[in-house]
C-alpha cells in the first residue's frame, strides 16, 4: 500500500514525552534482531520508529506491536546503541491509541490466503465476473 509521507504526526508527541529525538535511531535492527518475541509482532521496534518518522501514524497505532511490546521486557532498549527508551515510546503510543479509541489488539491474524467470491452468479448485476463458465467478459 503506497504511503504518503507527511509532517504532522504523533512523532512530536512521542519525542516530547521521551525527551529525545527519534532521529537518533540508526535503523541498525539490533532491537528486532535480539527480540525473543518478535515472531508475534507485526512491526519491530525499528519499524515503529521508522514509521513514526515517516508520520505513518495510522500504521503504528493500528498495529499489534504497541500493545505487545514493552510491558514485561526491556530487551530492546537495553541493547539500543543510541539508548532510545523503547518501552516509553510504546507506552506513549498506547496512550495515544486509547485517546483515539483504538481497540487493543493482541491476536495474530491468520496469514492463510483464502480465495472467495468465485461464484459469478451471485455478484451484483451489471458486473463482469471473474468466472470462466462458458466464456468471459473481460479479456484479461
Amino acid at each position: 500500500m503506497r504511503l504518503r509521507i507527511d509532517e504532522d504526526g504523533i512523532r512530536n508527541v512521542v519525542e516530547e514525552a521521551i525527551g529525545k529525538s527519534l532521529t537518533a535511531c540508526l535503523q541498525c535492527s539490533k532491537c528486532g534482531g535480539g527480540c525473543s518475541h518478535s515472531e508475534e509482532f507485526d512491526l519491530t521496534p525499528r519499524q515503529v520508529v521508522e514509521s513514526l518518522l515517516d508520520c505513518q501514524d495510522q500504521n503504528v497505532l493500528d498495529s499489534r506491536m504497541i500493545w505487545l511490546c514493552g510491558r514485561h521486557c526491556s530487551g530492546c532498549q537495553a541493547v539500543c546503541p543510541v539508548g532510545l527508551p523503547l518501552n516509553d515510546i510504546m507506552a506513549v503510543l498506547r496512550e495515544e491509541a486509547l485517546k483515539l479509541d483504538i481497540e487493543p489488539k493482541y491476536e495474530q491474524p491468520s496469514l492463510v490466503y483464502h480465495k472467495f467470491e468465485h461464484c459469478a452468479k451471485h455478484r451484483g448485476e451489471g458486473e463482469a465476473s471473474e468466472s470462466m463458465v462458458g466464456g468471459e467478459t473481460q479479456p484479461a
Binding site: A24, Q27, Q47, E50, D54
Partner: protein, 337 residues
C-alpha cells in the same frame, strides 16, 4: 639539471601540485582549459564534512599559487601534443593567442572530473520539469539565493548515475552521500521552515567527520533520510510527486515535493580519452586515467614521467585530491632534480 613541470588542470589538485613544486624550487607551467582557475571546487558554496566557505578557500589557494614565483599560469590553454620521454618531454600548448612549444621534465595530469548530466534519467523528469535540478545547479541556486521559500519540501536523490549499470556507471561516486547531506543542511539553514528528504541506498560516509556530518544532518537539522532509490518523479500540477520504497518498512512511499535535487555521478572529465591518447597513457573502462598500481602507486600513470592527481583517476573528495596533488608534486620533483 632543473626542468619545468607541466601541470594539466587548474583545479585544487593541480593548484596544490603546482604550489608544492614551486615551493621546492621547481618551475611549473599550469595550464587550464577554462578562463579561471579553481575547477569544480570553485563551483561550490561550502565544503564538507566541515561546513566552510568554499569560495574563500579556493580563492586563497589560487592567490597563493599566483603569488608563488616559479608558477606560470596559462588559462584557456590546452595540450595539443607530447613527444619525448620521462625527464625530457616536448609539449605543444595551444591557447587563443597561439601555439607554443615547451620542454618539460615531468607532466602532472590533474584534469578533474565532470558531473554527469542525468539526461538519461527521464523517470526523474530531468530536463522536463524546471523543479528537478542536479546538485551542481542546486549549488548555483544556493549561491544566488534562489532556494525555495516558505514551507517547501525538497527531495534529494542519491546514486543518480552511480551504481547503475543500465543508465550510468557501476562505480560509487563516493562523495554524493556527503554533498547531499551538505545540500540538505544548506537548505535547512537557508530556510528552516523547509523539509528535506534524502533517499539513499547506502550511506557511504567513510572516515573521520563524515559519519558525524551525516548524523548531524539527521539529528540536528532534522533531515529525513529514507532508504530506497527513487523510482519516479512525476509532475502533478505545480508539485512534483516522488515515488520510492521505504525499504526499511518495505512499503512504497510518496512525497510531494517542490524541488528535487539529483546527486549526479562524478564521471571522467570530458575528452579524457583524447587527452590520454595525446599523452599516451592508459584509461580504465570508464575513461578515468589508469593508475599504475592502485594501492602504493596511485599517482603513477602507465607511462613513466607522467603523474596523475585528483579526481581524474577516480571519484574523490577535496582532501584526497589535495593529498594526491602533493604526492604527484613530490614524484615530479624526484624526476626533475
Amino acid at each position: 639539471m632543473s626542468k619545468k613541470t607541466l601541470v594539466i588542470g587548474g583545479g585544487i589538485a593541480g593548484i596544490t601540485a603546482a604550489q608544492k613544486i614551486a615551493q621546492n624550487g621547481g618551475e611549473v607551467i599550469l595550464i587550464e582549459k577554462e578562463g579561471e582557475l579553481g575547477g569544480n571546487f570553485a563551483k561550490l558554496a561550502y565544503t564538507f564534512p566541515v561546513l566552510a566557505d568554499a569560495k574563500m578557500i579556493v580563492t586563497r589557494e589560487i592567490q597563493t599559487a599566483k603569488a608563488t614565483s616559479g608558477i606560470e599560469i596559462l588559462p584557456q590553454t590546452e595540450l595539443r601534443g607530447v613527444s619525448g620521454s620521462a625527464g625530457d618531454f616536448t609539449v605543444e600548448l595551444n591557447s587563443p593567442s597561439g601555439t607554443r612549444s615547451e620542454h618539460v621534465g615531468a607532466i602532472i595530469v590533474a584534469a578533474g572530473f565532470h558531473y554527469m548530466e542525468p539526461t538519461a534519467y527521464t523517470e526523474y523528469s530531468y530536463g522536463r520539469s524546471p523543479k528537478v535540478v542536479t546538485s551542481l545547479e542546486f549549488e548555483k541556486m544556493a549561491a544566488e539565493n534562489r532556494l525555495p521559500k516558505g514551507n517547501a519540501r525538497v527531495v534529494f536523490v542519491h546514486c543518480v548515475g552511480s551504481r547503475d549499470k543500465a543508465k550510468g556507471y557501476r562505480y560509487c561516486s563516493k562523495i554524493c552521500c556527503s554533498y547531499s547531506a551538505k545540500h540538505a543542511i544548506m537548505m535547512k539553514k537557508a530556510n528552516p521552515d523547509s523539509k528535506a528528504y534524502v533517499f539513499y541506498i547506502d550511506i557511504r560516509a567513510l572516515g573521520k567527520g563524515y559519519e558525524e556530518f551525516i548524523r548531524d544532518a539527521m539529528e540536528v537539522y532534522n533531515v529525513r533520510y529514507i532508504r530506497g532509490r527513487v523510482a519516479k518523479v512525476i509532475e502533478s500540477g505545480s508539485k512534483l510527486i516522488v515515488r520510492a520504497e521505504d525499504s526499511l518498512i518495505g512499503n512504497p512511499v510518496e512525497v510531494e515535493a517542490d524541488l528535487v535535487v539529483l546527486a549526479s555521478a562524478m564521471e571522467p572529465p570530458e575528452g579524457s580519452r583524447d587527452l590520454a591518447g595525446i599523452l599516451g597513457i592508459a584509461t580504465d573502462e570508464y575513461g578515468f586515467f589508469q593508475e599504475a598500481e592502485v594501492n602504493v602507486r596511485p599517482c603513477h600513470s602507465s607511462k613513466s614521467g607522467i603523474f596523475l592527481a585528483g579526481s581524474c583517476t577516480q571519484p574523490m573528495e577535496i582532501a584526497s585530491a589535495v593529498a594526491m596533488g602533493g604526492l604527484a608534486a613530490s614524484e615530479a620533483l624526484t624526476l626533475i632534480r
